[in-house]
């Protein structure tokens, strides 16, 4: 009570209270009347350069802090961009596959044009089962596509092998470097006949051999070996490979040529299966 009395009696308090009240009310009243106070505008004018400078500093710091505040947004954006990049990588990969397929189909078309009497079915190599004794390719076509046992498989480069087992949507094929194969062939340049077959020794090097070539035959390293069509499993005129070495078999008085297959048997991914060709003869096991 005494404190309040002291306050009321305090001239300073009463005066400052009155001034404060007036200064609180008058600007509002002036504003309501649409008139600005000179004092107010003077204060704002004086304060403008300071406030401008402080605002610039604040903006600078704000821009700096925004970097940290928006780091989550930047992370999200980075993730989105990564996803987009992955999509583009997939697109590029798809494009490469399409290009590869396009090349394959061009070759396929070339083969079709070269061998008008062939009925070809293209297939992808799904797997390669390799044991100590033989290598089997699994391809993506089967009985549903008209594939049967003993059908030759080729690439644009040359002969690959033949089908040994058929499922509904898959087939297994043995390549010509395996011991189970025997292909009737001849030397393109001289016409010397023989049989191309695989051996255990040569298969590891990716080679095969042409045996039963008459000793007097004209045969040289680099000669092309072509399928003769004898036996009916393989059509005539398919490139088997090239002669890489020649050996003389003294006992049988014949020549043996080491043949390097024309088709890259280790890395083929697409093949063509010859489902029909001009001379269709019965064959039992791919050995001619």
């Amino acid at each position: 009570m005494g404190f309040i009395l002291k306050l009321i009696k305090s001239r300073f308090f009463i005066v400052t209270l009155a001034v404060a009240l007036l200064l609180s009310i008058i600007p509002g009243v002036l504003c309501a009347m649409g008139q600005g106070s000179y004092v107010r505008s003077a204060i704002v004018t004086v304060g403008t350069p300071f406030r401008w400078a402080f605002t610039k500093i604040g903006d600078g710091l704000s821009g700096f802090s925004v970097y940290f505040n928006t780091i989550d947004a930047l992370r999200a954006e980075n993730e989105a961009l990564r996803r987009e990049l992955d999509e583009y990588k997939n697109l590029v990969y798809d494009a490469e596959l399409i290009e590869e397929e396009n090349d394959f189909l061009s070759d396929y078309l070339g083969l079709k044009e070269e061998h008008l009497d062939f009925s070809l079915e293209d297939a992808s190599v799904l797997g390669r089962e390799s044991t100590n004794y033989r290598t089997l390719l699994t391809v993506s076509k089967g009985t549903l596509h008209g594939i049967g046992v003993n059908m030759p498989i080729i690439t644009d480069a040359g002969l690959v092998g033949y089908i040994t087992e058929v499922g509904a949507t898959w087939s297994k094929a043995v390549v010509l470097t395996e011991t189970a194969t025997a292909v009737g062939g001849y030397i393109e340049r001289s016409g010397a006949l023989g049989v191309v077959e695989g051996t255990y020794e040569l298969r590891t090097e990716g080679l095969c051999r042409m045996v039963y070539i008459e000793a007097e035959s004209d045969i040289r390293v680099g000669d092309k070996v072509i399928t003769s069509g004898i036996g009916g499993v393989y059509p005539r005129g398919l490139l088997v490979g090239r002669v890489s070495a020649i050996e003389v078999d003294e006992a049988s008085r014949t020549l043996t040529a080491i043949v390097e297959p024309a088709a890259d048997l280790d890395s083929i991914s697409k093949v063509m299966i010859v489902t029909e060709y001009g001379v269709n003869e019965e064959a039992s096991d791919g050995t001619e």
Partner: protein
């Protein structure tokens, strides 16, 4: 003769003039900082009340009269900068803060950081109350929860967070003019 002597004497001493000038400058710069720098920075999307901290500092270290005058000046400057709005009555609010905290500093505690911080906590609470009243008066459809979460609480805490940083500069400015509390 006596009249001549009185007329020759300056209206206010150079000591008082220096004090008024320095305090005014501090409050003016604080108001500028508050309404520009922190407005641009928008820490916690709220503005700290630096003028209140200055007024309390002046009141605690230089007495209730200086606090009251500094409060009026601070309120006028802040209202001029558009910080308060026309019905906030900031000059009256800061004047009362300056005056009563000045008296409280004399009657209750010594002039030290703890007492100053305590007055800042109380002053910021009154300022928050004023913000709520202001919001209730100007808003048609009042969402009290929103006012508290978006305005009052952030404003309160950012003011208190900055109060330790403001203590030393304010004390350094007011120290040359330390004096005993005027009210008898």
């Amino acid at each position: 003769m006596e009249l001549n002597e009185r007329s020759r004497r300056p209206l206010i001493s150079s000591y008082t003039a220096g004090k008024i000038l320095l305090f005014s400058l501090v409050i003016f710069l604080s108001a500028c900082l508050q309404s520009s720098f922190f407005s641009a920075l928008a820490v916690f999307s709220a503005l700290p009340d630096l003028v209140l901290l200055c007024v309390i500092g002046i009141a605690v270290y230089d007495g209730e009269r200086s606090g009251a005058v500094a409060g009026i000046f601070g309120g006028v400057v802040l209202e001029a900068f558009g910080a308060g709005g026309d019905i906030m009555m900031l000059p009256l609010f800061y004047m009362l803060c300056g005056f009563f905290f000045g008296i409280a500093a004399h009657l209750l505690f010594n002039k030290n950081f703890i007492s100053w911080l305590l007055y800042c906590i109380i002053g910021a609470a009154f300022r928050a109350l004023l913000s709520v009243i202001h919001a209730v008066l100007i808003e048609n459809d009042v969402n009290v929860l929103l006012i508290f979460t978006e305005i009052v609480i952030p404003e309160y805490f950012i003011t208190l967070l900055l109060s330790p940083l403001m203590y030393m500069p304010i004390k350094a400015v007011v120290r040359p003019f330390h004096k005993k509390i005027e009210m008898e």
